[in-house]
């Protein structure tokens, strides 16, 4: 390397002018011919330009899903009017997502804090389109983490009355008016009335490659089985444990030299990865749910 490089510094390295973010239109409907034409025509009439479009029809269930990015400059009021008109309302569900909106995220955690910690660090770095508005926990372990980022911490311990704790937990979450609730290794099973309330708005990370090792102690069970990879799964929470629509999965290699501690540590990296990926996909309106499956437009 010559003298030139010695005197340079890289401060400008990869610094880029951000493109203005598009508005996102999502559509969920029963499939019928002409739906793309209807949507695209409405956008064209509102002087909108489509810059990215993902559409998929599930042939078996006849469900239609689309995610459409519209360049800045469209007449969004006119588009809304058009989409809201009688006919449209009758046949499909749609939403227009303002790119400036930052979703309000509530984090529930217990003792294992790596997922919560990674999320808070990334929000702080500006890597995600959302803001964490508070932590809720049945344990005190997360308090220092919340303090580090100047966030409210709501401690909801378990006493003799399980249902009472569930009510207090729900109230603490609700008080923060979340757009999205994330279970960052919150280790209590939630009642159906609560999971139903946050349908498709509550994400859990499970520390196995589902459907292997549903339930408790997945790493120990993986270790005992002698698997060569362990994984993690992020999914929307439903009333049935670890059975909701899967959003993201990944795995990592383990070896014969790994102790259970090593397996836990390797797996934790995958938990973080799928957890963050699921939150990103959700906040960017890239997920649509068909029954118990997800469509991911990525």
């Amino acid at each position: 390397m010559g003298a030139c490089q010695r005197v340079c510094n890289f401060d400008q390295d990869d610094v880029v002018t951000s493109h203005p973010r598009p508005t996102v239109l999502t559509v969920d409907a029963s499939d019928r011919p002409g739906l793309v034409a209807l949507l695209a025509s409405a956008i064209a009439e509102a002087n909108g330009n489509i810059v990215d479009l993902g559409q998929h029809t599930d042939v078996d269930s006849a469900r239609f899903a689309a995610r459409i990015e519209i360049a800045p400059g469209a007449d969004l009021d006119r588009l809304k009017e058009q989409l809201s008109s009688e006919t449209a309302v009758a046949s499909f569900a749609w939403a227009l997502h303002d790119p400036a909106h930052r979703q309000r995220i509530v984090v529930a955690c217990s003792r294992q804090l790596h997922c919560a910690s990674d999320l808070l660090a990334r929000i702080d770095l500006g890597e995600l389109q959302g803001e964490v508005v508070g932590l809720v926990s049945d344990q005190l372990d997360g308090e220092a983490l919340a303090n580090r980022y100047g966030l409210p911490f709501s401690y909801v311990p378990v006493g003799d009355d399980r249902e009472d704790q569930e009510q207090r937990f729900a109230a603490a979450v609700e008080a923060m008016r979340p757009d999205l609730v994330v279970l960052a290794r919150y280790m209590r099973i939630l009642p159906a009335w609560l999971t139903n309330k946050y349908e498709h708005a509550m994400i859990n990370v499970h520390h196995s490659f589902l459907p292997a090792f549903v339930g408790a102690n997945p790493y120990r069970r993986a270790f005992e089985r002698g698997v060569k990879m362990v994984g993690a799964t992020a999914h929307y929470v439903t009333a049935e444990l670890d059975a909701g629509p899967i959003i993201a999965q990944d795995v990592t290699r383990v070896t014969h030299g790994d102790t259970v501690e090593d397996v836990v540590r390797r797996g934790a990296d995958i938990e973080r990865a799928v957890f963050i990926r699921a939150i990103r996909l959700h906040t960017e309106h890239r997920i649509q749910v068909f029954g118990n499956k997800t469509c991911i437009f990525d």
Copy 2:
């Protein structure tokens, strides 16, 4: 496992009724508002139902690309007519791809036969939508492979006159009327007049993670540098060596214990993978080229 499982066999395992394959419409255009509406309306008017749509506009170059899957049953003649009408022709390039058509593939190879061998095996297993119509080589090594599958083998050795060999090679390829030419570790650099002839219809696999290690001996150079992963790249061939639009890349781990032979062997698996992936994407009309980049609708 109980008695039930002992007596079962798995012959029906995962056997599935194939869905009828959709017709694919691909579009390449200068971007302008209303293009998706125009396309979708034309399809709707032809009683076509869109089951999967990928569309992307490259904002910097203002290029529009789309790949649209249309369910069986549309009036394709009417759609063609519509798309061919004066206005349409003026503003964009399009193609309708018959799902029953199997592309004719010519394989060029030299001494390393793993990519050619894998392609022939997969075509034989019915895994790809194409047929190999012949092999062309500057070496005799591939002849037994061609014979094994009952395919013509065209031997085009190099003599004193490089250009003469290039002419004979081109003639041998041309005689087989290929839709697609694949360079399966064919180790001669092709002249621009030939690569231009097969623009976006000739795929090469290079045995490195481009742009690292352009040119000869990439594995040895990777070994000497002490890298921890080696890769491979499949790309459309252009006049400039190893510089055409990249279709697929992948890497694999190497370790300090690996000799150069081991690195070559590990890399060969990645070459196969990206080579086959690129051919699949091409034959399924999932690739569009924007300048020196590819759009992959996968």
Copy 3:
């Protein structure tokens, strides 16, 4: 690229002088202090030079495993004598593996031939240290494949008597005197008397990421669950279905756009990969079994 590169060809590309292969010593023992010293001293006294050594003790079960590569030139007779001496025999199991020996492999298959096909192609390309000595199948589908490579094909159809077929299958395998039997999507469950006979010498590939989806139709079940990755597992066969010591696992991504056929096709690539990897590890004496787990020295 300049004129120089135009006139070159790459025929010498990455061609390497093979290093002479080392002799491999494998050791399986109850752990006790001094075992490495004993082994290394015996090798040193036989003028052997260790070029690569992997050793691991499973603390929970107190089992010791080692794989030692000894450079060419050692006095192997003397080493054997030393290792065989009274004391040594008493305390551990060992084997010296001649690098020139090519293991005899019998391939069992049914209708899905991708794993068998890939193995035969790779053996033909010289990528593995073994030779296939024949195919055995309960179906006729594999006959053309066997013929393509000039290999014996033993057809053992299923009639009314399941046990009779098992006996004929076992006899057909045994007649080929295998060092290793590989179940390349052979879709019948084997009786315990047969799996016991080939303990740690019979490898199966199962088309899921075990322990998820044990048994039949794993891809369909994965599809229905909406997983985002599917995998495959290669393992030694034991009497319990899909429950033997795992050798290799891997996964690949699937998307919402994939039909069951697509999932089957994507999974097939992973089946091939783990199947070939397991055979490579076995033929290079890189696997040792501790109870129901494997130690992989790779």
Copy 4:
């Protein structure tokens, strides 16, 4: 899921009793027969039990490297004495690493803080065997991060005199008596006198899959080339830019839909991963350097 699971919580999930950590002996030597025997005998005489041993000889350079884990309970003083004896000292370099020792790590950073942030979070979570003793930066951006974890922050801005800044930077690092210096996207090229001082004790993360895209703006250049994956590389720093011994590399997929910002964001995840992996390998004494390559015992 039944009532049982509703009332359980998972607080004990995967909680494990830590195994006592072994002492690690590392050896670097010119290869000669009998070295393993010598080492293993010395350990046996000190009543040490080897629980994991990795050894490799690079045949081309005749260098020998070993990493040996010795179970708690050995007479380490006696082992040191033995290894230090005249003969031993003459022929090889060795070190015994106390498992209780936590290495002192100094973090250098500039404006991009994701690598530094991830390291601090993981140290805080107890995931690594080391402690961060301070941050040094040519920019003020990292100060809030240092404060968040209660760590000293040393601001060493660049003025007119490049060499003066280098001296102040070196002094700030030195004052913290580091065992290891990590360049967490520190964007200034260091002079040879400084990189030589921390030979094999200074780790850099470069935001490309080296040797592709050495130097500035690798993501922009990758984006412009149209690659389908971007990577990152962690390596020991030497006097030549981005050319030191590689410790860890990885890649991630990018798509045609990604802007440069997206590529930067995806790459940042890989930077974190290889950076943390390299620090883990270093602090666990799993790396040995042979010339410009590393041996990784993992």
